[in-house]
Symmetry: C2
Subunit: 124 residues, 2 copies
DNA sequence: ACAGTTAAAGAATGAACGTTCAAGAACAAT
DNA sequence: ATTGTTCTTGAACGTTCATTCTTTAACTGT
């Protein structure tokens, strides 16, 4: 029933995740999301409801699907830095992920924060 | 020569710093900066040149004036999370501050990141 | 063939953004 | 008193933002 969906929602999430990681949440516009996912505005809104909805789905997928913590930390970093303080649902997701990381979660996040900022060990 | 400046530039920096810390860089609009510093648009632009100029001055002041690292870490966190990767001048300032913090800079930043996100030890 | 339903497509919407500008006000120097 | 300079003030600018809406296309069931 109805016209079939032409885009793959999973690859859209992957593309959006990549963009959120490189540009941050506020730094990433819907225009860029439309452009980089290859999915049109209306379709994105029909599928996710809002920009926040897209991010939420990316975060959920990343945190549950990704086996090794380091690679899922990048989006977690964005969530913690820009969204968690003001968004209960996102904060809860973050809290859960951090608890799962155990003792040195803070240390690893700090390292990743520096790496993301372009401040790797030694070379300024 | 000329009309004397009526506002105190240092207290403007303090007010702006507070706002940047609570709202982040992108999350803090010029409207709110105008409102919370009590200085009018034109005057802010005359004094700092741009929104980035305001932030840069806040960061410089915070990093050099503040004796204890923890309290200056909050703005550093904002700089690292939103600006450093794309802004050479800000990245250089951050690099210097981090070098000065020594070995466990990353660990302390991670802790502060979690605190800022509202994820303090234990209570979710 | 024809409803009925769902997706694609992108123009349109209004609010919010950072920034600039023109007018007036307050001072020093002549 | 006049000129030159600097600051104040807030309206206005063009752009970009997230979101909505309308139209058209593609499919299923009758």
């Amino acid at each position: 029933m109805g016209r079939p969906r032409e885009f793959n929602i999973e690859s859209a999430i992957i593309a959006a995740t990549r963009l959120f990681i490189t540009d941050g949440y506020e730094g990433c516009s819907m225009d860029r999301l439309v452009q980089s996912t290859g999915i049109h505005r209306g379709s994105l809104y029909a599928a996710f409801g809002s920009k926040r909805g897209i991010f939420l789905e990316c975060l959920r997928t990343t945190l549950t699907d990704t086996a090794d913590p380091p690679s899922s930390s990048e989006l977690l970093l964005v969530a913690l830095g820009e969204l968690a303080a003001r968004d209960d649902e996102i904060r809860a997701l973050c809290a859960q992920a951090i608890k799962a990381r155990g003792e040195n979660a803070a240390h690893e996040l700090g390292i990743q924060l520096l790496a993301r900022a372009g401040l790797n060990e030694g070379h300024v």
